[in-house]
Amino acid sequence: MFYVSMFFQYASQYLKTRLTYRIDTVIEILSDLLFQAVNLIFILIVFDHTASLGGWNREEIIFIYGFFLVPYALFSSFFNIWDFNERYIVRGEMDRVLTRPVHSLFQIIMERMELESLFGVITGLVIMGYAATELGLTFAWYDVLIFISMVLGGAFIYAGIFISIATIGFWSDSRTDIMPMMYNIGNYGRYPVNIYHKVIRFVLTWILPFAFVGVYPAAYFLNREEWYGYAFLTPVMGIVFFSISYLLWNAGVKRYRGAGN
């Protein structure tokens, strides 16, 4: 309860600050849209040359992409921890965080939120809506609940992976370039995993389970029954990966050495 009210405190503070930089916000939303348009165009170009990709047609791939945008939007609104090492460990901001009576990870998530990324939820829903009409998909009322739990599962998988990587900063102070690499790997989850080599498929399912952020859960809504097993694992994977990252985080905080002078 306290954490819920803290969330609203931080969010209202964020909006207040953001309103004074309205132009920046608009530009950010527009550049996100442009980026998403480029991704869509890429899909269209691919399907100019082929009618199906590993047994999936164009609209299905577009639907998967639209689905992916939703958990991804949640992730990028709340888990901007790609610069955690630089900002909180090297510059010693973690000192301040640790002297406040709120869990340190929660504080950092709140301080770094970027609510304008939530716009991606709308873009994703619109894209999914378009693809669903083209495909003539129908949904039951409980599909809404399943959708929400799969979206949350996907967002938590992303969060879990990126938080785990951020905690490396507690153990080693050398700079790594793993973060940008992860963002690239994350994109592989947007395409049907059966088009990849077995090893890559395994990695995307169990090691860096980005497939659960796109293709697996989307397969449920596309009525691809052969993937249902994976689809329903999405929330479980989310909980597992987020819990692992949370434990790593708590262990890391104990190792925090402060900014060396």
Binding site: S5, Q13, M94, T99, P101, V102, Y256
Partner: protein
């Protein structure tokens, strides 16, 4: 009642050194060379409620490291800490509710938002009721004279303005214990005086316990009866400030300003008195003894030579501490 109880506290830092050359870098991949440095080396310390304690020592002595362990930021390598009846790093979230922290070197406030927004957020973070906030903070804001600064973002404040806001922010939940790491660094005399007066006030009013580090010993003289002197991670003195003065340097300096130029052999020579020339007409006598010796010296010198002025200098804390830093603590 002890607010802070520290036993055999120790904090080591490992610092890695990289070997030179390509083969060195390759070997670093497998076994890294490191040195262990004990930043805080087996210290024990008790502080009672309502005490104001000055924690001093040279750069790198380990003051900040100690404070970071006492506030739960760093985990100790070994030893035990009980502060406000809790273990700071184990019960961190519950614990930090009972302390206030100011790091002079680093802002505790959010950089981009107005001071009052920071205060408002902190008020929620610490779950302070409107009533308590208004009663307590109204007074704090008034005394520190930060009313006009409240609507400015922190990054637009001058150092002195910011520091006063930091202090106010640390007090939002009216903690019974305050840690101040160099709260007066870089401040002008007026702001310093303001802050000192304020600290004295809250100490008297709420019995707030204060542990502060500083490189300005006049802060300590103005505020603290007790000083803890740290050197290379070890406590080399813990006691009254005035005792440190009398123990470290026995005796006084007497400065004689003569009417005319005086040659050394015209001075008076006594055991335990050493002469030092300051300029043509001024000599300084270092007297290693009590008041009687001083008065004997003065009367003898005055009889022999025409005098313009005589001054008895108490040795300042600054000088004492400088002497201790330079020569080590022989008296401990």
């Amino acid at each position: 009642m002890n607010v802070i109880e520290v036993q055999n506290l120790r904090k080591e830092f490992k610092s890695y050194s990289s070997r030179s050359g390509l083969s060195g870098a390759f070997r670093d991949l497998f076994t890294r060379n490191y040195k262990t440095l004990a930043a805080v080396d087996d210290i024990s310390l008790n502080i009672k409620q309502g005490e104001m304690v000055g924690y001093i020592g040279e750069n790198g002595a380990g003051k900040s490291t100690t404070i970071k362990m006492l506030t739960g930021i760093l985990t100790p390598t070994s030893g035990s800490i009980v502060v406000n009846g809790m273990n700071p790093h184990k019960q961190r979230e519950e614990f930090v509710r009972t302390i206030g922290v100011v790091f002079g070197q680093r802002s505790q406030l959010w950089w981009d938002i107005a001071v009052q927004e920071s205060f408002r957020l902190l008020k929620k973070v610490y779950r302070v009721s409107d009533e308590d906030y208004n009663r307590h903070m109204g007074h704090v804001i008034e005394t520190l004279e930060i009313g006009p600064l409240l609507d400015k973002p922190v990054r637009k404040l001058s150092l002195g303005q910011r520091m006063r806001c930091e202090l106010a922010a640390a007090l939002i939940h009216n903690p019974p214990l305050l840690f101040l790491d160099e709260p007066t660094i870089g401040l002008d005399v007026l702001v310093k005086l303001k802050i000192r007066k304020f600290l004295k006030e809250i100490n008297e009013q709420y019995k707030t316990t204060i542990l502060l580090t500083t490189h300005d010993l006049t802060d300590i003289e103005a505020l603290c009866e007790r000083v803890v002197l740290l050197d290379e991670g070890k406590i080399i003195y813990d006691g009254k400030l005035n005792q440190l003065q009398s123990q470290a340097v026995e005796g006084k300096q007497v400065e004689f300003e003569f009417l005319t130029e005086i040659a050394k052999n015209n001075l008076v020579f006594l055991p335990n008195v050493q002469w030092e020339q300051k300029d043509a007409t001024t000599w300084l006598a270092h007297v290693n003894g009590d008041e009687r010796l001083v008065s004997q010296l003065i009367s003898l010198v005055v009889q022999k030579n025409p005098i313009k002025n005589v001054r008895i200098n108490e040795v300042s804390t600054e000088e004492i501490v400088r002497k201790i830093y330079e020569e080590g603590m022989a008296l401990a």
